[in-house]
Amino acid sequence: MILPQFLILAAALFSLGVYGLLVRRNAVMVLLAVELMLAAVNINLVAFEAALRTSQAVGQVFAIFVITVAAAEVGIGLAIVLMIFRNRQSANVDEFDLMKW
């Protein structure tokens, strides 16, 4: 079984996502970083399923859920970004501080 390799790949991918989330200024890139993190989680789920072999394939099912939710999340996220961009002519998250006191 090559579980550790899968886990290392997922951790690396997750770390890349976190990094992107925290440092990218373009909102679209931030959303992409989130997608990377979700993909890392999916790899973990599938890898553990393959290792543990549950009778109902919980890992795969859950991974499909995550993909579905991620698709919805990206749809809403891009719509928001689009609206902000139309209003402010910028997709730079540094400039979005409307929700402070």
Partner: protein, 679 residues
């Protein structure tokens, strides 16, 4: 005066029966008139006779009940006391003083129960006829029932407190009845006068009760009697003061000089009220009180006798003279009552317990009879004045004959009731050594006969001087007259000295059934010499009165001869007593009112204002010092702290999404580390 040893005393008390069922439940008699009162108030107007049925029914039951007791007492002598404690107060020294209600059934109270029921019943029946068509018959009978009930509470009282309750109840009912025709201001004034004069005297009674109660530790008459009989030292210390206070109270109700001034004015009430008031229910209360408290006077407070006898003697003679000059027939009878009350009070004060109360007993019959007769006359001629009457014997024969019987009895003509009772009083006065007063009594008998001859002559003889056609009263009024005429004739035989009426003994024995012996003197036989002198005085009075006022030739000149220069105006002005009383009231009410006003303005207002200022200052301190500076400070500080904490915390909320995300990541890392370290 004589004493019993302890053994003999115990024997004397044991010799009295407890009376069985009727004595045990004698309180029913005290309650029934009040039940009748309530029934009349609530249902009287719907009844055919406007509520008189209830009043008469209650007294009829009472008459039967008290007659049974009367007979039982006549045969064996009864003493029974029933009391319930209704309240108590602590007095100085930690003792408790209890207030009780109940009833005492002994010779004296049985006599009064029977008298109030008998006279009351006849007067009630009479009033049905007399008050027929009156504006307020229902209210009248309600107050009448209250009157009889209050008197029964008074005479049945086993203690001073209940006696005072009945005493004031009688005063209230008499006030209502005297002011029955309140549309006329004079009647209202008469009612007020009666009430206020009685109140003056009531102060004496209440103070006397307080003195006795606090000295003995009880208000009971029986314990008062026993303490007096035993010459209890603590009672002896206050006996004279208490005796005088009680006597002062009795002077008001029993209209003794100079507190008699309310009684003639009380004639403003309807005539049946006068009859009941003068015979059984009101003015006898004072004499009854003296009889009830008799052991106190007999054994301890004998120093008070001189004063009391003197007041009684003045009353009997002065009031008798006043009756000579009245034109209003009811006022003649009113002053006559005052005079006869003087006889009773003199007798009881001199130590003649039986003599005084026997006169009360016989007097009730003939005075009620005379008042009811006068009422029938007034009813017929629509005037109180004898100058509007005359010749009525032709129109009202039954009223005439009963009135003559009453007059002769009152005048003391042998062998009617008044002769025996008056003779016993004179004999007692002679025996006790009050010879002067005895002669005043004989002179009073002369005056009594004189004014009664005058009243009969002016009312029933001569020619009719009024308007309209007088007619005989209806049967409902004449039957009570006859019912009262019979005892007016025969009641005297109940107490002929030395005569016992077989198993029922005599009045002296009946009245002597008390918790201790009364200790008054009883003659062995009739003193015929004294009786002859009294009878001669009465007959002289009758003849002279008849000669002066008989309607024969030259009447007016005879009457003018009677107008003695100084005396007559003095009598017409009633000794100026009303003026004197009015002057006293006028002279004292100003300074008294000013004193009260001054006390109110400076003393009471000062206290009230001081209290006000104090509480205002306290409130100011509480508001300014405590509330504004103390409590508000604490709350303001707390809120400012919360405000500052919020101001500090809100800076964390930057609105930058990536800072929040960094927070998540750091938090997650910390969690992972903690799980790794602490698992």
């Amino acid at each position: 005066m004589w004493y019993l040893t302890a053994e003999e005393e115990a024997h004397a008390a044991e010799a009295l029966s407890s009376g069985g069922f009727f004595a045990e439940w004698a309180g029913v008699m005290l309650v029934l008139p009040f039940v009748a009162f309530l029934l009349i108030v609530f249902f009287g107007k719907r009844m055919r006779r406007h509520g008189a049925e209830f009043a008469i029914g209650a007294l009829a039951v009472n008459l039967v009940w008290s007659s049974v007791l009367f007979f039982q007492n006549a045969v064996e002598g009864i003493h029974r006391e029933v009391s319930w404690v209704v309240g108590e107060i602590g007095v100085f020294g930690g003792d408790r003083l209890v207030f009780e209600l109940g009833w005492v059934v002994d010779g004296l109270s049985i006599m009064m129960f029977w008298l109030v029921s008998f006279v009351g019943l006849l007067v009630f029946v009479y009033a049905v006829g007399y008050m027929h068509g009156d504006v307020r018959v229902t209210a009248f009978f309600a107050a009448f029932s209250l009157f009889a009930g209050a008197m029964l509470v008074l005479v049945g009282a086993p203690n001073l407190v209940q006696l005072i309750i009945g005493w004031e109840g009688v005063g209230l009912a008499s006030y209502l009845l005297i002011g029955h025709y309140w549309e006329d201001l004079d009647n209202v004034r008469a009612a007020n006068k009666a009430f206020l004069v009685n109140k003056v005297a009531d102060v004496g009674l209440i103070l006397g009760a307080v003195v006795l109660g606090f000295t003995l530790g009880t208000f009971r008459f029986s314990e008062l009697s026993v303490a007096a009989f035993d010459h209890s030292p603590e009672l002896a210390g206050v006996a004279v003061a208490a005796g005088l206070l009680l006597f002062f109270g009795a002077m008001g109700k029993s209209a003794q000089f100079p507190l008699h001034i309310w009684l003639p004015d009380a004639m403003a009430g309807p005539t049946p009220v006068s009859a009941l008031m003068h015979a059984a229910t009101m003015v006898t209360a004072g004499v009854y009180l003296m009889g009830r408290a008799f052991p106190l006077f007999e054994y301890l407070a004998s120093d008070t006798r001189g004063l009391m006898v003197a007041i009684g003697a003045i009353t009997l003679f002065a009031a008798g003279l006043l009756a000579l000059v009245q034109d209003d027939i009811k006022k003649v009878l009113a002053y006559s009552t005052v005079s006869q009350l003087g006889y009773m009070m003199t007798a009881v004060a001199a130590g003649g317990y039986t003599a005084g109360l026997f006169h009360l007993f016989t007097h009730a019959f003939f005075k009620a009879l005379l008042f009811l007769g006068a009422g029938a006359v007034i009813h017929a001629v629509h005037s109180n004045n004898m100058s509007d009457m005359g010749g009525l014997r032709h129109y009202m024969p039954r009223t005439h004959w009963t009135f003559v019987v009453g007059s002769l009895s009152l005048a003391g003509i042998f062998p009617l009731a008044g002769f025996w009772s008056k003779d016993e009083i004179l004999a007692t006065l002679g025996y006790e050594g009050y010879t002067t007063v005895m002669w005043i009594g004989i002179a009073g008998a002369f005056v009594t006969a004189f004014y009664m001859a005058r009243a009969v002559a002016l009312t029933f003889w001569g020619s009719y001087k009024g308007h309209g056609h007088p007619h005989e009263a209806p049967a409902v009024m004449t039957v009570p007259l006859i019912g009262l005429a019979i005892p007016s004739i025969f009641a005297g035989f109940l107490n002929v000295p030395g005569v016992e009426l077989g198993p029922i003994r005599n009045f002296t024995a009946w009245l002597g059934a008390r918790v201790v012996p009364m200790g008054d003197h009883h003659a062995e036989s009739v003193d015929w010499a004294l009786a002859a002198v009294g009878l001669a005085a009465a007959l002289t009075g009758l003849v002279l009165g008849w000669l002066v006022f008989s309607p024969d030739a030259d009447t007016q000149r005879a009457r003018d001869r009677f107008r003695i220069p100084v005396l007559y105006p003095l009598l017409e002005a009633k000794y100026f007593l009303d003026h004197i009383a009015w002057a006293i009231v006028n002279a004292t009410k100003g300074p008294l009112a000013r004193l009260v006003d001054w006390t109110n303005s400076y003393v009471i207002d000062g206290v009230v204002n001081a209290a006000g200022f104090l509480s205002a200052a306290l409130a100011r301190f509480v508001y300014g010092g405590l509330d504004q500076r103390g409590i508000d400070l604490a709350y303001n500080g707390l809120s400012q702290m919360a405000d500052a904490a919020g101001m500090a915390a809100r800076r964390l909320q930057t609105g930058r999404v990536q800072q929040y995300a960094a927070g998540f990541v750091v938090g997650a890392l910390v969690l992972v580390l903690m799980i790794a370290v602490f698992r």
